[in-house]
Amino acid sequence: MIHRNINILHDFNILYLEDDVELLKHTKDVLDDFMHEVYGVYTSEEAMQVLENEHVDVIISDILLKDENGIDFLKKLKQSDYAEIPTVLITAHTESAYLLEAIKLKVENYIVKPINLKELLNTIHDIVLPINQRREAQKSNNLIKIISEVSDGKQIEVIKYIMSNLNESDEIRTSYSEIMSHIDISKPTLVKLFKKLAENNILTNESHKIYKFHQESLDSL
């Protein structure tokens, strides 16, 4: 099993549509501890109101609702502005007939009742993870851009060059002169940079002209 960092859930809002008052109450109670915000609603109408007023990252809906069913709500949702919001269906065993329709409506996942909390959290995690990663990537990107703007950009450009030319086994076949032909940088600076990278065990010289990038060294920084 992949180790899931449940803590990332704290940055997300969830809409939980469930007609069973008790279940909704207790599930919301538990989810509150993990999520940023849990909007618990009984009907699709309320759900739409929440969607209009709040930012929602994930929708979880029971298939059987009091006066409607979850599938109809999903159809409506997929035709609305909120079609991109990932959805999870909660079903009972007896309602498996709805699953085919749910798949056609591109539901992200489904959970079978009775709800297992871990399964629920993992499912939510798996859905929000790409969003989280996208956010993180965006953040790093922004960070790099800002750093390159405020400091000497040459070294960053060299690292960019190296990172973008890594092959599948995280190796790069290059030389100082080759780098210098691409980037306008002095040789001492370049040597100093490589030396620093080697010291931190980030980029090591494996053999002649072959350098290897070590992800794990970077992660442990």
């Binding site: 069973d20 008790e22 279940l23 599930t27 538990v30 501890d33 009775p114 709800i115 909390l117």
Partner: protein, 529 residues
Amino acid sequence: MKIKKILQILDAISFGYKSAFLLFIIIGGMISIVVLSQISTYTIKNDFDLLFEKRTKSIIRLEAIKDTYIININETLNDMRKGLINSVQGQEVVALAQQLIRKNWSTYLNIIDTEKYQISWINIMIKKFFIIEEQTPNILLQQSIIHNIKAKKKKIQSLLNQIFNPYIHTDNHASLIEEVNYEIDALSIYITSLTNYDLSMTIQEKRDTDKIFDMLSLILNISIVLVFIFSVLLSTFIIINFKKLHFALQGDVLEKTKALQRLNASLETKIKKEVENSRRKDTLMFQQARLASMGEMIANIAHQWRQPLGSMMMIIQGVQSKMELGKLTPEMINEKVIDTLRLAENMSDTLENFQNFFKPTKAKESFTLKSCIEHAFTLSKYILEQHKINVSIKISESIKLHTYYNELSHVFLNIIANAEDALSLTKGEKFIEIVAKEVNDKIYIYITDNGGGIKADVLLHIFEPYFTTKYKSKGTGLGLYMSQQIIEKHMQGTIRCKNVCYTINKTKYEHCTLFTIILPHTQSDKNDT
């Protein structure tokens, strides 16, 4: 040996031929006996007639003639000769005598010649057949004698004429008389011979008659004996045949009777077996129906338990996660326990509801109809809610029943389940309405749903066992059959079903199904003792 063979042959003849043969012999024998006796009687009478008329009468005539000649003429002449009477007197006497003689003679001739007293042709035929040595009567002798008599008569006539002729006076009166005497003697001899002839004829005829009689009697006796023997024989055979037939038939009848008895006995056992079988089948059906409804009930329990169970699981997991996060407080635990207990109690209630339903209460109890129907709806509440079926119960609290509570709620459950199945497929507003009223000791219960009605060809069969329109996994086809059995056999009521048009809340629904249950009200106490 020969007799034996004949007997065997006779015995071998078929029964029909035997009886026909017997009939033929009896009729033939009778006819021949009758004919023969008639013939013999006729013959005897003929012979007797012949004897009397022809022979006896003629002999009498001849004797009369002879007497007349001898006594009247001869004596008269003798008297005249002696001078006792005169010639005139003598002539008168002689003339009278001659007149008598002429008359008798002509009568005699007449008798001989007459056709009336000839031998009948039957006699002739019989004689021809039976008497070989035919003695033809000596007609010539008779004729010559008659001729001689005639001659003598003439001579006597002439002599008498000479005697009494007054013109011829002769002295030899005495010689003439003498001659007349002589002639009369001769004539009497002739007449005697003629008499003898007639007598001999009579004797011969008597012989013939005897012969014929003997012959006929012999034939008659033989035929009687034959008829008798054959009749006895054939009757015996027929009786033997009858006996054989009787015994054969008796044997057959006995055998058939035994076979019938055996058949009867086997039929009895068969019927017993069949009855037992059908009873077993009935029990089996009841069990099947019971199992099916138990299955439904269990499904209902499962439905009703699923939600609280899910909530409880969530609570437990929540407690664990809160503890892991270190957020668990006594207040929180308190709250969670209260919630859990409430849910558990809810589940327990549900279980109790169904437990009552499964309890095999055999005794009748008193209850209100409304409570029974409401109970049935409670049990199927989940599915009704799932399909969003509106239920309206319009029953007065005052309608009370004294009967089998569980069985009646079974019936309602079956009808509700039926309505649910129909309503699950219909769109729009769905309803089940129950109305009950009490009229004249009878309780009328109307259960209507707008599930589209029942097709006419299906409607005919809905109360038949194992008849179902649902998939095998869903229906057993026993629900409505059992309902009918319960209502009609256990509660002496009736249950009917038809398609109706129904108006509810001012909306008219074209296709509705109406179940009508009629229960006797007072009856329920009768069978209690």
